[in-house]
Symmetry: C2
Subunit: 109 residues, 2 copies
């Protein structure tokens, strides 16, 4: 069983975007942040599905915000990264950092 899975690349980015957006983080805002960073289109569905899966794994929690005033729409789903989520983010980063170590200097060839 791969129950010790690493976060995927996109999952990491979504979690990080959630943290960056902060307080009222919800899908559309996260999406925008992602697109701005990666400089390319990201589909809404991709974000929602990833958010769902992350939540099922306990890496983030969500709460339904009581509908925004102004232009209508369904109540927003606010998400927040859990400590566990933060921990996993840091874990992957540590691995990558460790593997990058020493590689920046010598750009072979």
């Amino acid at each position: 069983m791969g129950r010790q899975n690493l976060l995927g690349s996109f999952e990491q980015m979504v979690l990080l975007a959630v943290r960056q957006v902060g307080e009222g983080a919800y899908a559309p805002a996260i999406l925008e942040r992602l697109q701005a960073t990666m400089n390319r289109k990201v589909s809404r569905g991709a974000v929602y599905v990833t958010l769902d899966r992350l939540q099922q794994r306990g890496l983030l929690t969500s709460s339904s915000a009581p509908a925004e005033p102004g232009r209508g729409g369904r109540p927003r789903r606010h998400v927040q990264v859990t400590p566990e989520g933060i921990q996993q983010l840091e874990e992957v980063r540590a691995y990558l950092d460790s593997l990058w170590d020493g590689l920046d200097a010598v750009q072979e060839d």
Copy 2:
């Protein structure tokens, strides 16, 4: 077609491990490096398959080394990351760095 895919987490790690091992990089050595870094078991198959896929995408090249002396075995398959591979590694890292920006400082809450 998702032909503009990001490197997955594991793919990144494999590519980085290849670069770290350097010259005679081949699966078992890469595997060992990976396990040491992640501090957990990684199956040999996972490494080989990933190496294959990465090669098919042109992110690394391989050459069959004329069998090692000493204790027998099949000829080793030496791999090397291509410039394109390096570029993609840097791209993902840039995105992640960008998203991490500002999150280390304030761990309030």
